[in-house]
């Protein structure tokens, strides 16, 4: 056999053939490479929308122009017609349902007004209307700091970006009334460039840092819960971080269980308020939904908040995540039944069974706590000393923290029935401990018999019992809603009109 060189020498066309074939192969290989690149590049924009608004656009309607399905499903959070056995999408006056709560929160603004909230659509409207935020006017400031706005609106990340986090928290609630007018929406959870989920609230980022965890390492599935955990968590206002600022802080540096957060609060000797009757240094649990969910079986199986509360739905041949964030009980087919192939009625029964059993013991704890506060009040009246009362007050603080922890998150008894049941049980024990100590104190002061249980059969009677003048509070609030609020809204709208001009 001859070498290639010899062949080419004899027949030059073979050389040309080899040359052409090589050119063609390299050319095709190049085409293949550029085709791969092109199709990869396609992926970048095939699933990325063309955005026409700024990074911190707070108006959902702007986003809705590009994401009509997500937006129109979000608008359904305005519906208030769903009612389950213990909850639903309508506003519910919790103090009316359980007047005991008025006594438990005596001396704290929650005793004035506490409702089960409505959908995200009403986040702003409901915080305007609640008596807890007071009736600010030019002469009187709100009793609450601006920190209270933090979870209510996509105007929050916008404003934090403009003036800084601590400056955002600074001042009373009324001073930023015209800045925050859009309810919880798109920019709270989404990066406007990529539409990926993002954490927009510094408190959660700081909490992860305090636990030595890196939130940027969270998977997409974890983010589908973490965006909710920006708000649906236990928090407190830290007055020692920045001078003159109520800094929103999650008490997670020891961990996220009830006991670990309690340890955190005890270590810094924190109290939300001093109880009006018992004078105990109380903790107010906010809504530790995420923390309790973490202890449940759904969390340990990798189910995220969005899996049940924002189900994947199909509409006209399009599949997308429903942004109608709501109770899964209003859409069992797309939430529970994705995994649990049982009849709807059976699944409902399973949920209600857990809730009923937990509520049964929670009601007992509620009554015990009322007795604790009333008996402690009697003990003070009969001359009990600080030293005598100190261990009692500590028990009351811990018992009510346990009760509130389970009651404040409306989904707890389903999210984690075992943990919730455990917490209530330990709360009952602590409340009874307090009462045993109290009865010793009362007996040694010469008190005979049972301290009478007050008549708190209705919200009004309970509020009267703890000495609230609801009439004037309500009148002032109505005045605020009629006189001051329209100015806030007008100023906010005016500010937003200027956005359109600059775009």
């Amino acid at each position: 056999m001859k070498s290639v060189q010899d062949i080419v020498k004899e027949k030059p066309w073979v050389g040309w053939l080899l040359f052409m074939v090589t050119v063609i192969v390299v050319f095709l290989l190049g085409l293949l490479a550029s085709s791969i690149i092109e199709r990869r590049a396609e992926a970048v924009f095939a699933y990325s929308p063309k955005i026409t608004f700024s990074d911190f656009e707070p108006r959902d309607a702007k986003w809705g122009e590009i994401f009509p399905r997500e937006y129109s499903s979000y608008l359904k959070t305005s519906e208030t017609n769903f009612k389950s056995k213990h909850g639903g999408s309508a506003m519910m006056d919790v103090l009316e349902v359980s007047p005991e709560l008025v006594v438990l929160w005596a001396g704290y603004s929650f005793s004035r007004d506490y409702n089960q909230g409505r959908g995200h659509y009403y986040a702003i409207e409901d915080i305007w209307k609640t008596i807890r935020t007071g009736a600010p006017s030019e002469q009187v400031p709100s009793p609450q700091p601006n920190t209270c706005w933090t979870c209510k609106s996509p105007d929050v990340p916008r404003l934090m970006n403009e003036i800084g986090v601590a400056e955002f928290y600074r001042g009373t609630w009324d001073t930023k009334g015209s800045e925050i007018i859009n309810p919880v929406g798109c920019a709270d959870c989404h990066d406007s460039r990529t539409m990926n989920l993002r954490i927009s609230r510094p408190a959660l980022l700081e909490a992860f840092e305090s636990m030595g965890k890196d939130i940027t390492k969270a998977s997409h599935q974890e983010m589908r819960s973490l965006v909710c955990a920006q708000c649906h968590v236990e928090y407190y206002f830290n007055g020692n971080k920045v001078e003159g600022v109520q800094y929103l802080t999650l008490p997670w540096s020891e961990g996220t269980t009830l006991e670990e957060m309690e340890k955190y609060y005890d270590n810094i000797e924190f109290a939300d308020w001093i109880h009006g009757l018992s004078r105990a240094p109380m903790l107010k649990a906010q809504h530790p939904d995420y923390e309790v969910y973490l202890t449940g079986v759904h969390a340990s199986r990798g189910v995220s908040c969005a899996d049940c509360h924002m189900s994947f739905i199909s509409e006209g041949g399009q599949k997308f995540t429903s942004h109608h964030i709501q109770s899964p009980l209003n859409n069992i087919a797309n939430s529970c039944q994705v995994c649990h192939r049982e009849e709807t009625a059976r699944l409902l029964e399973d949920v209600y069974m857990r809730q009923d059993k937990i509520l049964e013991n929670r009601a007992i704890l509620e009554e015990l706590l009322v007795r604790c506060h009333v008996e402690a009040k009697t003990a003070w009246e009969r001359g009990a000393t600080e030293t005598e009362m100190q261990p009692v007050l500590n028990d009351i603080r811990r018992a009510q923290w346990r009760w509130d922890f389970t009651a404040a998150g409306h989904g707890n008894s389903f999210h984690s029935p075992v943990e919730t049941g455990r917490i209530i049980t330990s709360g009952i024990t602590l409340a009874q401990e307090a009462r045993i100590k109290l009865s010793r104190i009362l007996v040694s002061s010469g008190y005979q018999g049972e301290v009478p249980y007050p008549d708190i059969s209705t919200k009004e009677k309970a509020q009267e019992y703890i000495g609230l003048d609801m009439e004037s509070l309500r009148k002032a609030k109505n005045n605020f809603l009629e006189e001051v609020l329209p100015e806030w809204i007008e100023a906010g709208k005016q500010r937003e009109r200027s956005y359109d001009l600059t775009e």
């Binding site: 060189q5 090589t22 290989l29 490479a33 992926a43 997500e70 994947f312 997308f320």
Partner: protein
Amino acid sequence: MGFIRKLLPPEKWTFPVIITVAAFTGLASYSFYISNAPSYLGDKPETCVNCHIMAPQYATWSHSSHRETTNCNDCHVPQNNVFSKYYFKAKDGLRHATVFTLRREPQVIFIREDGKEVVHRNCIRCHENLLTDSRLMLYSDKIVMDRKDRKCWECHRETPHGRVNSLSSVPYARVPLPESPVPEWLKKTREK
């Protein structure tokens, strides 16, 4: 050996030949790299969305209960032995790559006959106890019929991808599409 020696270029050509062959190899490895080729040997679902037209399949799977226990390969390639697994994977994969490269993908992708058989067998592989009754130890016509004369999804039509799977059925679904192939250090130098 003699044959190989014949192909070798004469001494004075060594340099240009080395350069030419290296250019070839370089171009080939570049294609290999940007197409994420090594990922095709593994089982990660992210691999399947290397081609973005698989996004509807990925998104529907990741919202189904099957996401907790299966990846794409568990159902879509044979799992009876390693040879048939990789043979099928190579066969299907090369067809998919060809169709995708030539832009011949249809608007609605349907599974082919041999793919159906594989999926059906894989349903049975995990859900066998739903089809047999070990207490009876007897041959039942119904069991055989249910397994052989129809496919599982003729009844379980929504499992797990749902019924509608056109290329445009999941607008803006968040799926792990391949990121830019430009390495971080290079991007950084560009930013400066």
